[in-house]
Structures are given as structure tokens and as C-alpha cells.
Symmetry: C2
């Protein structure tokens, strides 16, 4: 089957803010491809909690854009510290394919050590591992690859969507803009990279 990706495919990029409180702001930037912002939504999750998956599902399914969102993009599989997102459940409960993007290959030994200090460490690790195989791919710049995981979508198609939406740099626009908004609102001015 040949799946045609429209250049204006609707993508929801989700990022979190800095860890300056126990309630962490998460922001969804609803984009047309890598071109322009069509909507903004927000929710809150608990720092180092276990509610990220549910809060994201609620935010997505209660949005007026729900029926239009074709892809959910996440910046890693943990939000608000070590609050893990179960991307398989996120995909199943919303019916929308999920792509996780990372700038670097995750260091699982380091993550394991950090998780040790938190309750339900094994469950968190299990949820992170459910995100499956990590694929290296090129978003824009071949000297600077990114890494993805996905649920509910073929890997090659996910790579195409990452490439199509990375108009301004190595990071897809929906994630780059979600990051600018989340840090800008919480810190007073945007900073750092998605």
C-alpha cells in the first residue's frame, strides 16, 4: 500500500516546561505539517508522577482539533521529570499514531539509576521500554541525526513525517514551537532546545 503524506498533515507536538514547580505545564502545538501553527492547548502533569499518559490522552481527546490530528509527536517518553508516557496506550486510546523524537540515543543505565530513587521504578521502566525499538533517522541535516520510536505507524512513514515537518532545523516544527511556548510561559522567556 502506498500511503501518501500530505504536506499539510495535522501534527500535535507536545512538550513540557522547566521543573520549577510540582505541577508541570505541558503544551500542545497543533501544526499544519511543518508550516504553521493552527492551535495551542495545555494541561498539567505531576513532577515525577505517573499521570502523563492519562493527562495527554485527556488533552488530546477533549480538544476541538481531536478529529483532525493525524500524528502525536512527543519529545522523549518521559515528561515532567520521570513521568513516563505509555505510547502504546496513548495510540490505542486516541486512535492516533505516536512518534517520539530524541536528539540522542537514551542512556538506559543512567535512567535506571535515576529511577531507583522513585516509587514504582520497575513500572516506569516497563512503560518506557514499551515504546520499542529506537531508530536513527535524518530529519534535516545528515551530520546531525535524530532518534525516534513509534506506535501505530510504520517506521518508514514516521521517518518521512519527521523529515517533512523539520522545516526550520533538526527538530520538527510542532515540537520546536511547543518547547518555545512551554518554556516562555513558565520561565518568562523561551530558552533551550526542544
Amino acid at each position: 500500500m502506498v500511503f501518501h503524506i500530505k504536506p499539510e498533515i495535522r501534527i500535535l507536538g507536545i512538550d513540557d516546561s522547566a521543573l520549577i514547580r510540582d505541577n508541570i505545564l505541558i503544551v500542545g502545538a497543533f501544526f499544519r505539517g511543518g508550516q504553521w501553527l493552527d492551535g495551542v492547548m495545555r494541561s498539567e502533569i505531576t513532577r515525577d508522577g505517573m499521570d502523563a499518559t492519562d493527562r495527554i490522552i485527556d488533552m488530546v481527546t477533549s480538544s476541538k482539533h481531536y478529529g483532525q490530528i493525524r500524528i502525536i509527536m512527543l519529545d522523549g517518553v518521559t515528561y515532567g521529570g520521570f513521568n513516563p508516557v505509555d505510547i502504546v496506550r496513548l495510540n490505542e486510546d486516541t486512535g492516533i499514531p505516536v512518534i517520539v523524537l530524541m536528539r540522542e540515543f537514551p542512556d538506559f543505565e543512567k535512567i535506571k539509576t535515576a529511577l531507583h530513587h522513585l516509587p514504582e521504578a520497575d513500572k516506569r521502566m516497563e512503560m518506557m521500554l514499551r515504546a520499542g525499538r529506537i531508530i536513527e533517522t535524518i530529519s534535516k541535516d545528515s551530520s546531525n541525526p535524530v532518534f525516534i520510536q513509534c506506535a501505530g505507524i510504520e517506521v518508514c512513514l514516521a521517518c518521512d513525517i519527521v523529515r517533512l515537518s523539520s522545516t526550520r532545523g533538526n527538530i520538527p516544527e510542532p515540537l520546536r514551537v511547543a518547547h518555545l511556548i512551554a518554556t516562555g510561559i513558565v520561565c518568562g522567556e523561551s530558552r533551550g532546545k526542544a
Copy 2:
């Protein structure tokens, strides 16, 4: 003198959020022309207060982007209800030209009546009138003109900048996006028009 406008001229668009509290969130979207978002900043003003001019000057001059901002764009001359912005002082204190954009020609009789219920009504009206002559111009669609006021910039140049930055519709991108962010963050999901 021929003034050349670069397509990527840096513009800060500022909008406010819905009036659901006494502290009103204002959001600055720092844009390259009408193309893409380079930064987000925020501040707070008092509903129906008199602090909008000072808060906006503080937000702009304390930003890391301060030296790059070539134009400040406002969505009308009152924010957070009837908190007026003195655009002459905003221009003088920041050194940056200011363009005010309105979808409709303001109804001054209606404004006067509304101001009557607030303290310092005359001072507010005087600040609003300092914004000067209101010019009708075409941003994108000739059947749907917009209205502008400006400080520290020639009218014809201001019209060019409004046209150049209105890539997605009748409203310049920096204002359209500032509106999406401010309403999205405060209301949970963006709504309405800038």
C-alpha cells in the same frame, strides 16, 4: 530615503488572554517576518489597570531578543480590558517602532461610555488618542481591510510590514500566534481571533 524591509524582519507581536482573572497574561511572539516563531515571552498586567505600558516596556527591554526586535505589533491600544498602552512612550522608551492593528475602526463613543465606569477615564482616553490617526490598509485580502496606528515609523512603511507579515491570513503572524498562545494557555485551548 529608500528603506529596505528584509523579509525576515524581526517582529514582536503582543496579545493578551481572556479576562478570567484580575491578573491578565500577555504573550509576546517573536517572529522572523511572517515566517517563523523564534521566541516566546510573557508578562502580566492588571485587568482594567493602568500598568500595561510599563509592563510591556519591561518585558521588551529585559528580553534577550531586545537588540533584535525591529517592530512591536499590538492588537489594539487597550489590553486586559481597558488598560491603555501609550504607544508614543512605548516607542520612546524602547527605541522600537510600534504598529497597532485593529480589525475594525474603533467606536470611540462606545469606548467613552465604557470608560466612564473606570477611574481616570480622561487619562485613559488621552492615552488612547495619543496613538494618533487611524489608517485603513490592506494586509492580504482587499475585501477585508484592517486599520493601523503607529509610532516611530512612517505610515507607508508600517503598511508594507503589515502586508509582509500577514502570510496566513488577514492578521500578521506575530499577532495571530501571540493570540493562539495567550488564549491556549489561559483557557486550556486556543480560541477566537487575534
